[in-house]
């Protein structure tokens, strides 16, 4: 769905067709998963499968509606989006997810912080990662120590709060 489709005439909107396909796909998953459920016979009438089937049917109808809408080209005008910043931010989030358990909250979140700033054009990373780490540590300290929230701690947090990194 990367086509920022400029539509000179009423050409079918490719991205909208992809959305319709996704909706139909979701409906198929719900139908399939629900049909796999084993039900005790007593509950068959209004058991736990009724609502999923209703919602899946609704999604099918909406997928059809989306196809119609795509054919008519009645989706709103889209801005031309730049995808590079998105990769930076998504990369930052993935980096944080992978780093949290080993490097701890501050360093992991520092990477997220720096990558997000980078997405908005603020670098360089060697400068922003330390800034982010210090900021994240301050936040970690307030929430983990002050408000007793359980946040993952790594060597850095332990070193700065207990004096040893272990």
């Amino acid at each position: 769905m990367t086509t920022g489709s400029s539509k000179p005439e009423r050409r079918p909107d490719g991205a909208a067709l992809v959305i319709a396909a996704i909706l139909a796909g979701l409906a198929a998953i719900i139908f399939w998963q629900t049909s796999q459920m084993r039900l005790p016979p007593i509950q068959q009438r209004v058991g736990p499968t009724v609502f999923p089937y209703v919602i899946a049917s609704g999604l099918v109808l909406l997928a059809i509606g989306t196809v119609v809408s795509a054919m008519r080209g009645s989706f709103p005008e889209r801005s031309k989006d730049d995808y590079k910043p998105i990769f930076w931010i998504v990369g930052g989030l993935i980096g944080q997810i992978l780093l949290l358990s080993t490097a701890g909250f501050s360093i992991g979140t520092g990477v997220l912080f720096a990558f997000t700033a980078k997405a908005f054009g603020r670098g360089p990373l060697w400068q922003t990662i330390p800034i982010g780490t210090v900021f994240a540590f301050a936040v970690w300290f307030i929430f983990a120590k002050g408000l007793q929230l359980s946040l993952p701690a790594g060597a850095l947090e332990r070193l700065l709060t207990t004096g040893t990194p272990f």
Partner: protein, 515 residues
Amino acid sequence: METFDLLAQGLLSALQVHNLIYALIGVTLGTAVGVLPGIGPALTVALLLPVTYKLDPGGSLIMFAGIYYGGMYGGSTTSILLNTPGESASIVTALEGNKMARQGRGGPALATAAIGSFVAGLLATLGLAFIAPFVVKFALSFGPWDYFALMVLAFVTVSAAFGDSALRGLTALFIGLGLGLIGIDLQTGQTRLAFNVMDLLDGIEVTTLAVALFAIGETLKTASDRDQANTEVTAVKGSVWMTLEDWKRSWASWLRGTFIGFPIGAMPAGGADVASFLSYSTEKTFSKKPEEFGNGAIEGVAGPEAANNASAAGTLVPLLTLGLPTTATAAIMLAGFQQFGLQPGPLLFANNAPLVWALIASLLVANFMLLVLNLPLIGLWVRLLTIPKHWLYAGILTFATLGTLGANGAMSMGFGPVRISFELVLLLAFGILGYLLRRFGYPIAPVVVGLILGPMAEQQLRRALAISQGDIGVLFSSPISIVLYVAAIIAVGVPMILRLRGQGGVLGQLATDED
């Protein structure tokens, strides 16, 4: 005068020192976060929920009340000083407010917004206090079929009635409903759509979804959209005080705004943006100087701001008395209640009256605090507005992930020594969903409301059908449910006709996006 006694007791409890401190922290944090550009009331409440995790239910709800009102107020400061299209509830305020600020009348604009919000908040909160007991009494006679009809109405109004496309609104709703299916079915204990992932057994957290859609989705959209208008802060010049003429022109607008806003919020009929838009057009007709509209008419700030706040208090009527969230903000607040095992609704009023009344009373307290705090601190809020975008969004994502980890920090997946928080993976996935929804013009609020209201509607439906032994006719058996269905048909039918006749533009402007 039973209500009066209960409210007085609530006030006594809200005025205890520690509760006052909670309320003060709540309004301060709420305003500070709400002021930040790009953060609407829904995200303010979602981001600040973790702060209340370790408090007792009473203190937490009181802080919540402060955050809610503070967030609403902060949003209006942003739209007056920063012409930010996109925050829908206060977009109308920006129309006139920003013009005033550019003419060097930012001070009076902020003042009329603050005082108008106070007047509206006061009247609407009193309205809530006096109406709630009646609604509760009425709601106690509701059968499951009535509740189901009520939820159908809420689904329709939140998704299809406003916005520029019923198709996209309903699609957003059904995505939310689909996500609501995930997890263990409450009545039979069977798992649905969990794909053998342990973390999915409890279902999707409303706060995770809301933070992802609003914070991550918004960040991705702002970062990637090159056309994003370069916003600049308008300095507040001159006096913050309103002149005698400003007062004369404002007071009637405040009252009109309140009377428009409160009923709209109290009925399951859309959010604060609808109210402020209606108030704006009303002020335009009532104004003695209609030619000033579009060039900074003070009535155009006073009315919509009052309507905005009155409607925010109004949405608490269905939320507290029926357990029915009608906006994304209310959905997140409902999740906040549920974290303490409290289910808002008529039974909460009956069984936990002191708590509910302390909450209502602390809304009054928060309202007073906002009036006293905000105007003197305006310099501080302006400072917050000037935070550069790259630090702002980096900070928003820091707090978004912090809140998600704080709610559920289990590192339940992974490979080797690297453990992964599943909740953060969900946050990322829903964040991308939020970006796509924005990019293709889908509203966000129906997804959040669908997630929390879907399972509730299913329960009521199944309860109703269990009582009738499967006879679908039971759904239409009571006069209340029939009235509600008729209202739902009108809510979806009238806008459709308007759109077909080419008058959909007005509805597009009423889109329930942000809260």
